[in-house]
Amino acid sequence: MNAPTTPVTILYFAWIRERVGRSEESLVLPAAIATVADLIDHLAERGGGYASAFVTRRTIRCAVNQEFADQSAAIAPGDEIAFFPPVTGG
């Protein structure tokens, strides 16, 4: 188990990356953040590009440690959390 001071890595892809204005960042999770949904709330509160990126939460997909996850998924220090729109490959 990582210490609470271990940061999470947050990755952004496609138009979410464009709105946020970066592709990656590290963040030490405030104690109150336990799930992906909590993290989205926290990021959206930053306003600006973050608020714009997370305005329609229904369309946001996420992965925790490179596995697709629901927004209700638990997150912990050291995790890699990615936000992206529905995939459009193939």
Binding site: L11, F13, A14, W15, A63, Q66, E67, F68, A82, F84, P85, P86, V87, T88, G89, G90
Partner: protein
């Protein structure tokens, strides 16, 4: 035993078929799907022709996700091997995007596995397409409900 590649460079279909079938005498059929960049992509509502398409992906997760899809194909269908090659980066109209090959003793598992692989790739692998138009504007392609429906028809436990 699946061959999985995510790459910027083009692929040669004949060479990939030869690699998948080399040294084997038990293969009786080869399923093949090649996806290419269309002039009117997206949901066909684009007001003008697409000049280029850029494919973004999630390095690390992409390969894992495709490996898992290939494992599912090998469990569900009686195939002897498969190949998935997905290009990333900037592509032009007519360029290859994706190659799916599946081989089996008889035709049906190869055909079914090929359809399964491309249907699941479209909805369960982290790629995103951005279309660029001649005037320099661009737009991210929206996910299509038809693709979700196509993937759903294979749903048994996933």
């Amino acid at each position: 035993m699946a061959t999985i590649k995510v790459q910027t460079e083009d692929f040669d279909v004949s060479r990939e078929i030869a690699a998948l079938t080399a040294g084997r005498s038990d293969i009786g059929g080869i399923g093949c799907f090649v996806g290419v960049v269309r002039e009117r992509a997206g949901a066909d509502q684009a007001p003008e022709p697409v000049a280029a398409m850029t494919l973004e992906h999630y390095p690390g997760m992409t390969e894992r996700a495709i490996a898992r899809i290939a494992e599912q194909a090998e469990q569900r269908f009686d195939i002897l091997g498969c190949t998935v090659i997905h290009r990333v980066g900037t592509l032009r109209t007519g360029d290859n995007i994706v190659l799916v090959l599946a081989v089996s003793a008889h035709r049906q598992p190869a055909l079914d596995a090929t359809a399964f692989l491309i249907d699941w790739l479209k909805t369960k692998a982290p790629f995103w397409k951005r279309e660029e138009f001649a005037d320099g504007s661009g737009a991210w392609v929206d996910a299509r409900e038809a693709d979700d429906a196509a993937a759903e028809r294979w749903s048994r436990d996933g």
